[in-house]
Structure formats: C-alpha cells, structure tokens
Subunit: 541 residues, 2 copies
C-alpha cells in the first residue's frame, strides 16, 4: 500500500535566483523538457509579469505532461483580488496551476508589509478563492512559515488554514531563510497536520543555509507532507534550494520511501539523472560538482585502498546504491593510498595483465615516488599507463625529442600597438631521421595563444610516419596547479585530448618550469595515442 | 547547564581521500595550524606507516593544543596486538590519541575479512586494550555501523561494547557508505545508548552520499552523541564527509545547540571560518563553492528584489544568522545604493576618497567589464586599486616596458643529460632612458625555475632610480587558473608579493598567453609598490 508523493520543480523560478544565473527563454524550454522527461509533477515556470523573460516564456509555454505552474504573490491590501494587476498578470499566463506566496510570520506582516494581521489573512483567503473562481488549481506558499510558527504558532497556522479553507490544493510550508533544522521541521509539520490540514495537502520548500535542505524535506515527508519542492542541482537563492537531483534518487532507491511512496519518476528516467544534471551545468557553463550526491563524478569513486579491494569482491561493501541506477559509474582511481588489488584492476582495464606481486610492487613504488614529486594520477590515467609500461619495460620507443625552444615576445608593432607572440621550434628524431618543426601560438581568433598552444602545434606538426595516427588529436582541456607557493614551486599540468574515435585521455606533467611541465603532458598524450593505436616503434638513433 | 561537545577533524586523513587531493607535508602543517586556531578538540593526522607522506608528517608532528591523533586499523587475526606490524607502525607515531577502525557489520567480517564473528570481536578488544596498555587514549571507529546494525543489531552493538569495555574513550558510529538517513541515525544512536554505552562516549562519523552528512551528525547529537567527526569544506571519500565548516556555525549559532552545548570554538575563532575555508581552497587551488552554507560567497547574497529591499530595512528578515559572525559579508546587487556605498568604503580603505556618484559608477562599470574578461578582484586588491586609479586618471606613469622576450629551451647538455633553461630579456624606458636587463630562471637549488621566475627577476633587476624602492619585494605566491577549457582558453594568474615593511599584496593578470598573464600581474605588483611608497613619476619619452 503506497501513497503518492508529488514533486514540484522550481529551477526556472527560485533556481534563477542563484547569483550569476539568468536563463534565456530557449534555455527555459530546454530545462522544462528535461524535467518533463524526468517525470516531475509540477514545473514552476517563473513569475509572469515580473520581468520580460518570464513573460515571454509564459507567452509560449511548453506543452508538458507536468502541471505547468505560474508563480506570483497574494493580492495587496486596499484592492480586491479581481483588481490587483500583479495578480492579474499571473492569471493572464493561463496556467492550470498557480502558486501564490503570502506572509505567515507576524513580524513580516507588520514590518515588511505594514498591514494588520487580519488584513493579511483576508488577502490570503481572497486571493486563493479568486484562483478557484477562475478554475485554477491553487497552491499557497507559506513564506517564512517555520520562523513564523516559532514566533507565533497560532497566527502562522491561521494563515495556512485561511488558504486551505479558501480551497488551496496545496499548503506549502516554506523555510524561506533556510535557518530551520530537521528536528523542528518534523515537529512543526506534525503540528500543522494536527491543526486540521491533511498531510496530502501539505508541501515543503526548503533552502540549504545550514546544509539541511534535503534533510528538512525528508523530515516534512516523514511527518506526512506529500509534496516536495526543489531544484535541479540545488540551484537557488543564497545557498540554494533542496536538490531534487539528490532527493529523487533517495525517494526511489532508499527505504522507507522506496516501498511506501510513489512518485511520477520511473526507474528508466532515474537512470538519466546524471545526464539531466550535466545538461543544466552545460547550460550554465559550470564545472559539475564532483562530490554531488548520486550524480557527481566522484560519487562512486573509491580512493582508499581497503575500499577498492573490497569493492572488487562485492560492490555493495562500499556503495549504498548501484551507480548505474542513476546513470553514474564506478571509479577506482590510482593514488598514494591505493593497494595492489586496486592497481591490478586498473591495469587490467587498460589491457595490461600484471599478476606478479613483485611487478605490482615496483609499479606502486614508482607511482608513489612520482606522487611525492607532485604528479597526480587520479585523473591522468594515460600517463599512469605509460609509467606502468615504463616500469615493466613494455614501453616502445617511437621517437625522441632532441630539443625544443619556446619564445614569447611582447613589444610594440609598427603602429605602436602592444602585441605578444609565441613561437616554438622542435627537433624530433624518428628512426635516425631528424624532423624540424616550427609553430606560432596563433589561435582561431587571431590572438596569440601563448607558448603552450605553440608547443602543442609544433609537436604534432611533423611526426613523419606517425602523422596519420595523430592527425585527429585535439587538445580539449588544460589545467595548471602550483603544488607549492612562489615561482620556485613545482607546476603540475594536466591536459586532456580527444580523437575521432571519441576517446578522451588525460596526461600529467610536473616541473619547476611551466612550459616544460606542459611539454611533458603533451608528449605523453602523443605517446599514449601511438601506443593504443599500435604504431610501430622506430626508435631514435 | 551545558554539556561539552567534542569536535574531531579528519581533513588530513579522510579528507585526503577526496579524488584529486594529495596534501604535501608542508600543506598538512598549514592545515593543522588553522584547525588548531579554530579550536577543534582532535586533529587526525593520517595513517602512519601507510604511505611516505603520512609517515613524514608524523615524524615531525605539529605541536597543537588539540589532541593530535593517529589513525590505523585493529589488529589482524592470527597474531597478537603486540606483534601486528601495521598496528605497531601506528603506535610508533607516538601520539597521545589513537583511532582504530574495525568492522561491526557481520557481512563484512565474513566476506571482506574472511574471519569468524568471534575472532573479530577479539581483534577489537585486544587492539583497544593494547592501546590502553601503551598509555594511549583509544578511539574505536565502528565501520559500517548503521548498515551493520540494520543487518544484525546484536552483533553490531557487541562490537562497540567490546571496544568500550576494553577501555575505548570514544565509540565512533561510522556511516561508512554514506547511505544512512537522519531518522535511522537518530533511532539507532538511541539504541546504542540504551545498550549501555553513554552518549558522552559516542561519536558520529558521516558521509554525504545522500546529501545528509550534516543532518545525520545533528541527528546523532540529538540522540546524545557528544563527539562529531568531519572535515573542512566537507572534503572526503566520494561525496565527502560531514562539513565542519557548516556544523561548527550551527552548533555555535543555532538552537537548541547554542544554549545546551559547549565546544572548544570561541566566537572570535568562528569569525575566521570564511578565512579558514578559503585557505583550504587556496591550498587545493579550487574555486570556492559560492553556495556553501555560512562561508560561501553567495551565502548572504540577496538577489530577489523583494528580499533585497526588506534586507535594507532589517537584515533579520532574510538572514538566519548575521554574516559577520562567520566572517562573511552581505551582498546585494551592485547596481543599488548599498553596492555603491560598499565600493566607496573599499576605495576609502585604500586611501582613495571618491564621493561623486558618477565616478563610482564608472569604476563599477570598468570592474564589471574586466570581470567578464576573466579578471577577478576578490583577492587581487592591489590590481583593483590600480584599475580604480586608471579610471579616475590618478595613476602616475612611472615607466614603460618597451618589450620583453622569454625563451625556454630543452636540450641535451654535452654529457647527454636533458636540461632545460629559461632566459628573459626586457627593455624598460624610464624618463626617456632605456634600461636593458637579462635574467635566467635559475632557482636556489640550481634548477631552472622557468620563464615566470626569469621574468620576475628581469623586471626588478634594473629599474634605475626606482631600484631602492623595489629591492625588498619578494614574490611569495603564484596561482594559475584556466578560466575555460583548452589551450585557447584564458589564463588568470594571481601573484602575491611581500616587502620588508610586512605588507602583502595581490595582483592579477589575464591573457590567452600564460607568460603574458604573469607579466601583467608582475608589472602591477611593481606599480602598486611604487605608488604606495610615493615614487616620483618619471614617465617614458
């Protein structure tokens, strides 16, 4: 016997209150489509009339299975609901569902609105009744409800009851300032139910200011609330809203929710959770948070050696849910902590079967030594593979870089304009034959891309017999980290490449010289590609 | 009547399980010092004997007020505690406190360890007793405790009691896989207390795999646990550990904790929370998470118009705690009145009195424009000051850099050894007189320090009449961040300098060319110093 739990997404409204976030109308459509695919019950599209983007979006509202909802506020004092033009703007959007925020904290009623407590109750009741009269489903967002309840419980509940008795389908308890803690959310939600508003009419809207947005949502559901509001990736004002990307997997995969509650999200849709989360980051041009619950790239990464060896025996030893249920994947990275079993598995994944304990020990020692020098192989899998091969004597010698020289110059051109330009010359010996190349660091837009750009181009410009194999390499990411302070510190460079086969590989270089660290990572990238594609080792004489 | 709540930091051990994180010994010292300043009770330093970095750190352990703690595991079967060399390695570190992890989930005992349940109980008891016999305070990390309790409550509790009765000061209930939810953590912690282990001997160790690490910690404290384990910024395996940067403010500022519990953290230390959080991000070269509770740059940012206007009347309307209590600051959109007064204050702090609204607006526009190009003035105050002066026409021209050229070369020396060397030539025009300088990037240890090192030395080598003023400048930190992927991306360089007056200043440079971005930051550093010390502007003819 399960009960229905409703999911209400406010990414497009409260999510847009995130600092630095401003969705275009087209992006709003993309996000609404993804949410609908996921199977949420409500999609709050924004506040029609409040700004041009929101109005434009409602004017061409997406056709969703989810109830597409307009947000607004209760009517102001001194006019009827029918004559409040802000409320009219919201209703004009023509959505089936309308969510109106209203005050429930006595202090805010008298301080921020400057009206009497009675007037506020009337504004709530009249506004909700007006929605009903217009044939709309009404939701009431009880602003500052938990703070309000703590200050004046009778009044906070009276506000909710005014909305409920006026016909609101949902009374949404909002922790607007994000300061409530799970224990009190649970207790206060119980009080609301005791006061006569059934749990199946109660929603919860939380913020993450104490890191408890998810827990507060669960606490309200535990008390009986049956609608949860949140956003994708926890976007939202200040520290963000409750993260639906976290809550949805919890409701579907974890007890007691899994066997007592139903949502509109299917297991198939759940398996797209990582994809949906990344899509939003792409739209926002954000680096995805590696540590995000369920969907982060590190969520199923097992770095500790003890964990990694147990995982090999049975993944459930160190995983609370299977990664594939949310579309994620297990990662067993290399690191200082890694044990031999971790290492063996990683080598096997690369096609290197190493079973001798002695060989594993030597590779491990080499990797540990390199890590103390500043190398890091968590992500730089390709360089890791090359190091293992070098230690085992399995690394072919394709060519040798005899020398290179990088020059960066800044001066004024003939017209007196400051220009800078980078040039790299390189000499590569392939099977006894010397190949000289020179490149400038000119980018697509005509600007100087600097010495790393020039070096990258020079290195792959003429590798003679290998040219066909490396022609499709593309440098797609470049990261620099100084491992200690000062210019005398070591620099770690991590470079990602892709090729036409859709492979992506990472390499690492470390040096006190940033150019040389980059060179090392670039060289490893070429060597890995040649090795993986089975190039013939011509050596260097 | 308050009770003592103990804080146990594991940033240096479990925090280092974060993918991509590898602290150097020096960084571990820096972090331990910051934690000690904060006032945590325990600092777990790592696992002595498990890897060279941890061993080196314990060999020169920091002197802390906090109990400096070594981590390890209970003895293995088939040998005595006295003869277990892994355990001996941990004890050899000589710390007053030792924390040993042991299994409490029957499935793990039989599957992962492959021993009987009885043997495991004995391993726990004997290991803890051995610590006591050696005069150490013993902590027992009950691994997989909540999963273990759900599978076999009697056995899980028997493991904890074995450790407690053998003399462990703390029994730490670990949610190792991070899958437990707050309701069950609360209930199960109560059961442990009912079974005879007092709350004042119970600790809680949680992970964020369901986004509930903080809530689970609070749930255990609500049930009676009196030690909380966590990490700075929530570092840790997979999704991270409980975030002490979130929990500490909650314990100090929020009810019911504020008036019922005492920690070792003072209000003054709490006001450094943002600083400590940023320091860790600096060490990791990570972009600080804007939405982090309490310490994030957006934690007190009020974007919604209604919120911003209410905040001006009374900050408590939309803030659950005052931002300054944790060393944070309120942000309201720059365009409004408060934005301008903030800017005016920042300029006044630099000795620039700007009262004209028009001037403030122009500076704001210029800064915003630069920020869209990739500049960042959060830390680079010196460059910010120079930009404001440039906009107001108050920037003296001391000299002009006519040109520079940086060369990096890698080749074999006469003996066939690979060497790399960097050289920079620079031409500076001071009052019409040209000064030529050349420098190599040779470091104190004889290695090549690369082109940035050479550039830094060349720039300050001969500035003629200004030489006396810049002779005491020292480059103390250098950070590089790529603002977008690929070598064609922009590079942001932030450089810190110090001088003999004890001043420290930060400058920023942005370019597609990493050498030129560094040059820009280096040049700003020299200009700021000349301006602050009142150098005469000789110009360039």
């Amino acid at each position: 016997m399960t009960e229905r739990l409703y999911l209400y997404d406010t990414t497009l409204r409260d999510g847009q209150q995130t600092q630095g976030v401003q969705f275009s109308t087209e992006e709003k459509h993309q996000i609404a489509e993804a949410l609908d695919h996921l199977g949420v019950d409500y999609i709050e599209g924004g506040w029609p009339g409040a700004n041009p983007t929101d109005s434009a979006f409602f004017a061409e509202a997406p056709k969703t299975k989810a109830r597409f909802t307009a947000f607004g506020m209760t009517k102001r004092s001194g006019r009827s609901a029918e004559n409040d033009e802000v409320l009219a703007g919201v209703l004009n959007a023509g959505t089936d569902s309308v969510c109106l925020v209203g005050k429930t904290h006595d202090f805010h009623v008298t301080t921020a609105l400057g009206i009497t407590l009675e007037e506020n109750l009337e504004n709530i009741a009249k506004s909700v009744a007006h929605l009903g009269a217009q044939g709309r489903e009404a939701l009431f967002d009880a602003e500052h409800f938990f703070d309000g309840y703590k200050a004046n419980p009778d009044y906070a509940i009276a506000c909710c009851k005014a909305a409920y008795e006026a016909g609101a389908r949902w009374i949404v308890l909002c922790d607007t300032n994000g300061g409530a803690l799970p224990g009190e959310v649970y207790q206060i939600t119980l009080k609301v139910i005791e006061a006569g508003i059934p749990g199946e009419n109660i929603g919860i809207h939380t913020h993450d200011d104490t890191g408890n947005a998810v827990a507060n949502s669960l606490a309200a559901v535990n008390a009986g609330a049956r609608q949860v509001q949140g956003t994708l990736n926890g976007l939202g004002e200040r520290c963000g809203n409750a993260n639906l990307t976290t809550l949805i997997p919890t409701f579907l995969l974890k007890e007691p929710y899994k066997s007592t509650l139903d949502t509109g999200v299917t297991d198939a849709a759940l398996a797209d959770m990582v994809k949906v989360s990344r899509m939003l980051d792409d739209i926002l041009n954000r680096v995805p948070l590696r540590s995000a619950p369920y969907v982060g790239a590190s969520a199923f990464a097992h770095k500790a050696g003890l964990h990694a060896s147990a995982i090999l025996k049975d993944p459930s030893t160190y995983e609370h849910v299977p990664p594939e249920t949310v579309g994620n994947a297990r990662i067993v990275p290399m690191s200082n902590q890694a044990g031999q079993s971790n290492l063996r598995k990683r080598l096997a994944d690369m096609g290197l079967e190493v079973s001798e304990k002695q060989d594993l020990g030597r590779i491990l020692d080499r990797i540990k030594q390199r890590e103390t020098e500043g190398y890091s192989y968590d992500t730089a899998q390709a360089s890791f593979e090359l190091e293992a091969r070098r230690e085992l004597g399995l690394m072919p010698q394709f060519f040798e870089v005899e020398r290179y020289r990088a020059t960066v110059e800044r001066r004024r051109d003939a017209k007196g304009k400051v220009i800078h330009l980078s040039e790299v010359t390189i000499v590569v010996n392939i099977g006894g034959e010397r190949h000289l190349s020179v490149s400038e660091g000119i980018m697509a837009d005509g600007n100087d891309g600097g010495p790393v750009n020039a070096l990258s181009k020079a290195l792959v410009k003429d590798l003679g017999p290998y040219q066909d194999l490396i022609g499709d390499m593309e440098l797609v990411d470049f990261k620099v980290r100084i491992t200690n302070g000062g210019t005398e510190a070591h620099t770690r460079v991590i470079i990602d490449h892709e090729d036409s086969q859709g492979r992506r590989w990472s390499t690492v270089g470390v040096s006190s010289n940033i150019i040389d660290a980059s060179f090392e990572a670039l060289l490893d990238a070429v060597l890995w590609k040649l090795m993986r594609d089975g190039a013939q080792a011509l050596g260097a004489e």
